[in-house]
């Protein structure tokens, strides 16, 4: 039991530490990063060879769809093969990759070359083939108005050149040769910087370059871990409920009939859930749609609509002007309530555009945008401080319930 607790605490701590560091640690190593304004760039390139055929060089230039796309063969959650688009820095000599260029529209075909819609002349190099964009199937002879791709499948990367960039740093021009793990971050005045490819950095852009840190590159893995844990929690919840209710049924405890309803609801829910994947028009799908759109929808909205009656009765009892503050609250509540309905506009629009600031909807909007915003910001700051304190307690296993 003690070891289970220690494992739980350890896992919680490591997961929490990762997520905290993910936010704190920048995408590039601070000591080894450079920041400046882009003067010039030398594009990156990659040399690829298919079998014994001569190697083909792919320059990475910012020309929209004509920029090479590197695809690595992976398997999805169901074990089916899939191709994942990766940046140049994730491949090296010996990597087995598929390179694609396109899709582009064919304007005309001239012998072995194709003229694209923008007037670019494209021909095949050794190991490359034409792929039809719509069907994703190889095409022997391209035809005009076809959407085409160039593909060099299952080829080995011979070498990669990440390119170089000339930055203006404190008035000096410095050339930086990029490494395989170098990240180029385009900085903006607002928000965080975003990773760009070298050819996407234009003269005048403020960028930061440096070796990639572990955290930014593994965000997707962390997100998937999070997804798996969250989904598992649902499964465990269902299992736990099932165990509790089966015990009630076996022991015939008071209220056991309600446990029968629980299992009936689970069976109905699972059947309905499976039915939604059935083809449109099938009986299974019709059953699923009937349960969800006709039964659950009506029952849920009926239950929710009861709130309107409770709220009306609660407002009648609660909005009593006993103090000055209560009067203020009631006045603003009444303005907001009328201002949100067509009555507010109907009652005050006669004043004309000149006095539109006095229209009830505009007064209600002012209440939302100014006093409400000010109060809410203060409230959120307070809540967040409390949330951080609670989160820290959970993370460090100081919360009683965590044990």
């Amino acid at each position: 039991m003690k070891s289970t607790r220690a494992i739980t605490i350890g896992l919680t701590f490591v997961a929490g530490l990762y997520f905290i560091l993910d936010f704190i640690v920048p995408p590039t190593f601070p000591g080894a990063s450079f920041q400046g304004v882009v003067a010039t760039t030398t594009p990156a390139s990659m040399v690829v060879r298919s079998g014994t055929l001569p190697p083909v060089t792919y320059p990475f230039l910012g020309q929209g769809n004509m920029r090479p796309q590197i695809l690595l063969a992976e398997r999805d959650v169901e074990g089916l093969p899939k191709l994942t688009d990766v940046p140049l820095r994730q491949v090296g000599p010996g990597t087995l990759a598929t390179v694609r260029i396109g899709p582009f529209a064919v304007k005309s075909v001239d012998r072995a070359a194709v003229v694209t819609a923008v007037g670019m002349r494209v021909s095949l190099s050794p190991g490359q083939k034409w792929i039809e964009g719509a069907s994703n199937e190889p095409v022997a002879v391209p035809r005009p108005e076809m959407s085409l791709l160039i593909e060099q499948a299952d080829s080995r990367v011979v070498r990669t050149d990440p390119g170089s960039i000339e930055l203006i740093e404190n008035g000096k021009r410095v050339v930086h040769h990029l490494g395989n793990r170098t990240v180029v971050m385009k900085l903006s005045r607002y928000g965080a910087g975003s990773e760009v490819q070298l050819d996407e950095a234009k003269a005048g852009d403020t960028i930061q370059i440096g070796p990639a840190t572990f955290f930014a590159d593994n965000r997707d893995a962390a997100a998937q871990f999070n997804l798996v844990v969250t989904t598992m929690a649902f499964g465990i919840g269902l299992l736990s409920l099932g165990m509790v209710h089966s015990r009630i049924l076996i022991e015939r405890r008071p209220g056991w009939s309600l446990s029968v309803f629980f299992f009936a609801a689970v069976i109905l829910g699972v059947t309905t859930g499976i039915g939604k994947y059935a083809n449109s028009g099938s009986q299974m799908r019709a059953f699923s749609d009937f349960v969800v759109l006709r039964i659950i929808s009506s029952v849920s909205s009926a239950v929710f609509s009861l709130l309107a009656f409770y709220m009306a009765a609660a407002a009648y009892r609660a909005f009593r002007v006993r103090t000055g503050e209560a009067a203020l609250m009631m006045t603003s509540a009444l303005i907001v309530m009328i201002g949100q309905t067509p009555f507010g506009f109907y009652m005050t629009s006669w004043m004309g555009e000149r006095y539109s600031a006095l229209w009830l909807p505009n007064i209600a909007a002012w209440i939302f945008r100014v006093p409400n915003t000010a109060v809410f910001r203060g409230l959120v700051f307070g809540i967040m401080l409390g949330a951080i304190a609670t989160a820290l307690r959970y993370w460090l296993s100081m919360e009683r319930s965590a044990s």
Binding site: S188, N226, Y277, V292, S300, V303, A315, M337, P342, F376
Partner: protein, 297 residues
């Protein structure tokens, strides 16, 4: 008179319920049209969604379930109608929502698609449900297909023959805007989906929770908002003004529900005022009784 007014201090709950029910039912029996004032947040959201950008899609996170359908259904249907009229492709998904959420969204998508002749896979894709916010939000921003490897009917998102729309969708840069339709949308979308904050994020929320999003509107992090049934009705009005007869409003719920809602608000306001009048009258009645030694004058 004072005695009559004092009775308003304690109105029975069932009286309030009956009056509210009857008043809210009137507009369903007698159709009433009322003038609409369109709020700035709704107009901004409409303008942003209207800006069709080549090879970009409108992303919709549709998390609503029947409980909030009186507000979210109308909002979602108005957004879908706008996308379909303007031939703007869109993807829809649910995040940390009820598993039924994609099914509700799809029922509306199909209804609107029949009106405007749109085709699944080419004009819209329903990617189903995912979990794990806010980390998954960031993951969607970096690669849509990595998070959603299949659509809600298990068609792989790499199958461009069945889902040609997915061919051009890689990451957040392929979105023209993000709509989050939920009773209470998760404000983490503002922070995590696009850290560069270039993507306009728009919320469609219930009226009662809208107060919490105005700080984001003021700071410019939220570019627009559709608030409750009112917002949906305004959006429908904008669709009508912009597209005229091309916009088929049959079965649209926004304006249909707004008038009963307004009548309901009036009932609540009436009872709030009545309660206060009753309270004052009762106090005065007591003062008078005290003055006359407990006897009525």
């Amino acid at each position: 008179m004072l005695n009559l007014l004092a009775r308003l201090d304690v109105v029975q709950r069932k009286t309030i319920y009956i009056v509210l029910f009857v008043t809210a039912a009137i507009p369903f029996l007698v159709p009433i049209r009322m003038p609409l004032y369109i709020w700035k947040e709704t107009r901004n959201a409409f303008t942003i969604t209207s800006k069709r950008q080549p090879k970009k899609v409108v992303a919709i996170c549709s998390n609503w379930v029947p409980g909030s359908q009186s507000e979210n259904w109308a909002q979602y249907e108005a957004i879908v109608a706008q996308c379909m009229i303007t031939d703007t492709p869109f993807i829809v998904f649910a995040m940390d929502a009820d598993p039924m959420a994609p099914q509700f969204a799809e029922a509306i998508n199909l209804r609107q698609a029949r009106r405007y002749g749109r085709v699944y896979g080419r004009d819209w894709v329903n990617l189903g449900l995912t979990r794990g916010a806010p980390l998954t939000m960031g993951a969607i921003g970096r690669s849509v297909k990595a998070v959603f490897q299949s659509d809600f009917q298990h068609t792989p998102t790499q199958d461009f023959e069945k889902l040609p729309l997915m061919k051009d969708i890689r990451d957040v840069r392929d979105f023209s805007c993000l709509w989050v339709v939920d009773y209470q949308p998760d404000s983490n979308w503002v922070v995590f989906l696009d850290p560069t904050t270039k993507l306009p994020v728009l919320f469609a929320c219930a009226g009662i929770v809208s107060t919490g999003y105005y700080p984001y509107i003021s700071s410019g992090q939220l570019k627009g908002m559709m608030v409750g049934t009112r917002g949906a009705a305004e959006y429908e009005e904008l669709l009508r003004q912009t597209f005229g007869k091309a916009f088929d409003d049959s079965g649209m719920r926004g304006q249909k529900l707004l008038v009963p809602l307004a009548f309901g608000h009036l009932v609540i306001i009436f009872f709030v005022i009545a309660g206060n009048v009753g309270m004052v009258a009762k106090r005065r009645q007591k003062a008078v009784e005290t003055q006359y030694g407990g006897r009525r004058p």
